[in-house]
């Protein structure tokens, strides 16, 4: 049985606590890094991470890119949408197809 974690600044994450996800509020980069490393060792199947911290910890995220579990997924935090999520998908299309032929006109 796996659990779901949410990692990010407090204001962006505490709502998820009410839904039964495990919330890990962090305040700065080093702390986030430490917590994320801990989470990777435990039985979390999905780790949602706010886009702000996702961009800070991108090297750690990249090293887990090709492993099926856990899924580390950036979500927009309270600071607003950075369009990173859409860019990520476009990058995948580029990697697979060679150039972005599907979502080129969007954005």
């Amino acid at each position: 049985m796996y659990r779901v974690a949410v990692l990010g600044d407090r204001d962006s994450t505490y709502g998820f606590g009410a839904l039964g996800l495990t919330v890990f509020p962090v305040e700065e980069e080093e702390e986030a890094k430490r917590v994320l490393k801990e989470l990777l060792k435990e039985d979390y199947a999905i780790i949602y991470i706010t886009e702000y911290y996702a961009s800070k910890l991108s090297s750690l995220l990249d090293s887990h890119k090709n492993i099926a579990l856990p899924v580390i997924l950036p979500i927009p935090g309270i600071a607003g949408n950075t369009k990173n999520g859409v860019t990520r998908i476009k990058k995948m299309v580029e990697q697979a197809v060679g150039s972005d032929i599907i979502f080129r006109e969007e954005m």
């Binding site: 606590g17 009410a18 199947a45 890119k65 099926a68 899924v71 979500i75 197809v97």
Partner: protein, 220 residues
Amino acid sequence: MASTHVNPTRMELTKLKKKLSTARRGHKLLKDKRDELMRQFLILVKENMQLRKEVEEGILHANENFALARAMMQEEFLDAAMMVPKQEVYLEASTKNVMSVEIPNFEYHTKSSDLSDIYPYGYAFTSGDLDDAVHSLSVVLPKMLRLAECEKGCQLMAAEIEKTRRRVNALEHVLIPDMMEKIKYIMMKLDENERSTQIRLMKVKELVLKDALEERKRKE
């Protein structure tokens, strides 16, 4: 492009021919794999984009509601209200094999299935905005879980497609032409050898005949 030296022998030729047919079959298989992966990937990535947009909108909406709730309530009450969650989410994670790519497959269970029973607080000290906020987030949650599945699947498939495409190209443009070149080289060498042997034989025959004729002439 027979860059490396090959021995022009029949054995080498048979070996190369066998290798070539294997390479051709591998090439065809990998090409099929790539095409099928691409088809699945395109379906999945479209769903992914759709979900991503819906989830981001949903979270934005929920965050707006939370901001409202925070504005209406005192910090301590809010903290107290959210302190002990009532709802819990469990995931059943398995992997699904799509063309040799293992993509995650989630099934989730919640502790209480009643959507109106998720609020972890009594309603006395909280504002209605908080209820709205929690509700709007709970609506997004199933989509978020599906998104996690989808996006990881896309990512893994994209990597696999790239790898397969490289292999197909390497076979098609390097390995197979190279082998064909080598086979051609060996065949030409062997043919050349054969011709020279034939000529030598003819020459020898001529010489022997000439000798024999002279011998007969002398006897007569």
